[in-house]
Amino acid sequence: MTSNILEITDEEQFIEVTTNCRDNKIISLYFYSNEAKACQSMSTVYCALGEDPRFGNYLFLSIDANKLTSIAKNFEIESVPFFVFVKNDEMIYELSTTSPKEFVDFLPKLELELKVVMESMPERENYDELIDESDEETEEELNERLKMLTNAAPVMVFLKGTPSDPKCGFSRQIIGILRENNLRFGYFDILKDKSVRDGLKAFSDWPTFPQLYINGEFQGGLDIIKENVEKDPGYFIKSTK
């Protein structure tokens, strides 16, 4: 088994490692400097992450910003510690923090977000990992998760079943409306997660499913979306801006 953590020593190696990285991995680039005090505790924590089974979907790279100036310049690094996340050759996120805890807490969030947004990819892949089966989730944690889920994609629909296999006529109809309007959307199957199913009713102050969120804001159920589109055919264009 190869380690998930690597110190970059030169530019050639950097290019080789990042281009050969397996498709579905998220590459975390940690820019540090031995002179910066804030990097000391961060480096200690960072080095341990490669062994952490929770972050198996990550490849952790460390880059000395003072030594490998050309890479640092490419990513426009102005201060350390600084993190850049890359997936499939694309920069997906930047994070500037001196708190190791903030960084570690951020990792599962980013992973979750990437999974939900990939809605138009084959369904169900990695999908069950979204589901929290631990019984220990507090109300606060659940609300945090709901907040994350409702914001996981600009257009986010919570339904019974999946878009290709809706388990209820109303869910089927709302998918039809979203597709007619050529909307790219994220979805969550509430039948797979009882705490989301119950929690979202209170969170949205809405008793039924499907539920539609746009830019993190609750829009309504099927009746309301239907009426909004009937009244104003530009409804989605305006609300998704």
């Binding site: 008793p207 039924t208 829009q219 309301i224 009426e227």
Partner: protein, 86 residues
Amino acid sequence: MSVVTVELLKEKLNNGIPEVYNVIAIDTSAGCGQSFEVVVISNTFQGKNNLARSRMVNKILCDEIAQIHAFGCKCYTEAEWSKIVL
């Protein structure tokens, strides 16, 4: 908990919605009593968007909605309703 019926929904909405002009409730379940649609007409909806209107109805019927499988709801002001029925 009492069984959800058209009569129960109508009664609760007639009592719960201010300035109510009319309530129509339909059992759309083909017999199993698990699916209902309601239309509520009241000038209290004036100036409120669909979401706010439906929330008023949901609040009044929260116990009933929790028991059934499907629930549809449309809310109109008297002026909006008159355009629809004409």
